[in-house]
């Protein structure tokens, strides 16, 4: 083998080694979570890294401590409403910013992007007071409302709309469509991979949302799965086996959504940067 060939093979081996380590680091928490769900609290604390026989016991503990159907319903309800409304409102805004020109467009857009710089911690108190004034504390609307006009998703849709062929809009106008019809009948179906990518991002964010629901949802019957898992973990004698069961169950919907939309997600992400 020539020196050049050897160098190429070594470089390739180094790349694969690096990727393998990164893949392991990514997968490890999931593996640990699944293994933990089959072990007792003491085994988890000891760091046991093999499957145990405590799955059923952990599951029984979890379901006895938690009103699972209710909290999963709460999470699902919030997530679906937040996802649908965020995609609708933010994509309308992104489309509008890109398609319609006005003197104030770029200034308004920059102002909107500036809001991305404000940490959520700085917004929590004003938001809480606002929700209090509207009488929305301890309601699911209070969880959804601050998320529906997401500056990041508006930005994402505006960038993706740059790839939307403007001649399609012209053709639709010649065919007699109004602006709202162009949006719903032409733009949305054409941009479905962009919507799929945004759907995954918004769905995961809404499903995993923790801090804001922790502040506005105060009664047990309104709480979401993330809040309940957190409260199980912070008990005086936490049952980590039950926590792991809850975590595994809470991960399933996001995994399902991701794998169902994986192909469109990749297309959407590629489309947004092309």
């Amino acid at each position: 083998m020539t020196t050049h060939g050897l160098k190429k093979r070594l470089a390739s081996a180094a790349v694969y080694l690096f990727l393998a380590v990164m893949a392991f680091l990514s997968v490890f928490p999931f593996l640990w979570m699944v293994i933990g769900a089959t072990n007792s609290t003491s085994d988890i604390i000891k760091g046991k890294m093999s499957f145990g026989e405590g799955l059923l016991v952990n599951a029984a503990t979890f379901f006895s401590q938690v009103n699972a159907p209710l909290i999963f319903w709460n999470s699902a309800k919030i997530t679906i409403i937040a996802t649908v409304s965020t995609l609708l409102i933010s994509s309308l805004a992104g489309y509008g910013f890109e398609i319609f020109s006005s003197r104030f467009r770029e200034k308004l857009y920059s102002l909107m992007l500036l809001t991305l710089m404000i940490p959520f911690a700085a917004l929590m108190i004003p938001l809480f007071m606002l929700m209090g004034k509207f009488g929305l504390i301890n309601t699911h609307i209070a969880v959804v409302l601050p998320t529906v006009a997401s500056a990041f998703i508006v930005f994402y849709f505006r960038q993706s709309t740059k790839a939307f062929p403007h001649e399609l809009r012209d053709a639709a106008r010649v065919d007699g469509l109004k602006e709202w019809q162009i949006f719903f009948l032409i733009y949305m179906p054409v941009m479905r991979s962009t919507y799929a990518a945004a759907f995954i991002i918004v769905f995961m964010t809404a499903w995993n949302n923790y801090l804001w629901p922790l502040i506005v949802l105060q009664s047990n019957d309104t709480k979401t799965i993330t809040l309940v898992i957190s409260s199980l973990g912070s008990a005086y004698y936490p049952d980590y086996g039950a926590v792991m069961i809850g975590t595994v169950l809470a991960t399933i919907p996001t995994l399902f959504v991701f794998f169902a939309m994986q192909r469109q997600f990749v297309e959407g992400m590629l489309g947004s940067v092309k």
Binding site: L168, R173, V174, G176, L177, V190, R192
Partner: protein
Amino acid sequence: MSDVTLRDVRKSFGAVEIIKGVDLDIKSGEFVVFVGPSGCGKSTLLRMIAGLETITAGDIEIGGERMNEVEPAQRGIAMVFQSYALYPHMTVRENMGFALRFAGLPKEEIRKQVDEAARILELEPLMDRKPKALSGGQRQRVAIGRAIVRHPKVFLFDEPLSNLDAELRVHMRIEIAKLHRDLGATIVYVTHDQVEAMTLADKIVVLRSGIVEQVGAPLELYDNPANLFVAGFIGSPKMNFLKGEVTGGSAGRAEIRLPDFGGAVVPVALTGAAPAVGTPVTLGIRPSHFSESGDAALPVTVDMLEHLGSETLIYSRSAASDLLTIATQSRPDVRIGDTLTARFPSSAALIFGADGNRIY
């Protein structure tokens, strides 16, 4: 009555005027081609007729009705776009019937009209396919079919063949010409390709920088261009322009000296009085007008040869490096570097004044 009338139509984007007062009458059934270089405003003018661009000033009438504020769908037009603009999530049948569905036509009527257009354009086997499963030529036929089903007063084509390869472009050009003949429709067609303009048009509108330079039948523009721009734009290879000066003449005759061609003097017959001696002029001669029997002679050196089979193009230079293109149907025995005398009949020469307008 004209099908389309433009009266002092203007368009500005901010302070920049793009269309600078266009007047035009397009008769019913006429095939009119807007031609001009990139950025001349031809597509903008077409979009203004379609209603896709607002009009800053002037009037546009279609079928005798003022259309300035009328929505595109109500203007009685159908448009074929450069990129086809087919809805990618719909089948060919859905694409073609979409406008009719929106116009509220019954399903049976839509099916009948779509099937009829599909038959004309030989699209029947493709009706259930989506645009991504079609070739460029097929997509363009679907786009034309989508326009046909609307039975518009005016078809608008915006550079419809630009995205096709050379062979398909020729094929589609013939298809469009046949379609015009069969439907007898009024067509306004935009292109930057002067061959398309020459072969398709009943009337060509040459545009430059938002101004109409000349309107006329293809051969009229070819034989009698109004100015240097039209003379240079229409015809391929491009007309030769030779700088000269009037050195003498009388009524019905002028002598033009060409200093860049060794001071050769070309006698030109005129219909009117000769320009004053010393007047700078440009002499225009088409490459195809060179022939061995010509009475005017220019000494040149061969720079490059292109053998196209049916004709040969000789790119040559004068002693002062002025380029001269000669097209000949024969296969001349010349090589690069040879010197030769290019002859042309002085009666074929056109004369342009210093302002670029035609004198003779």
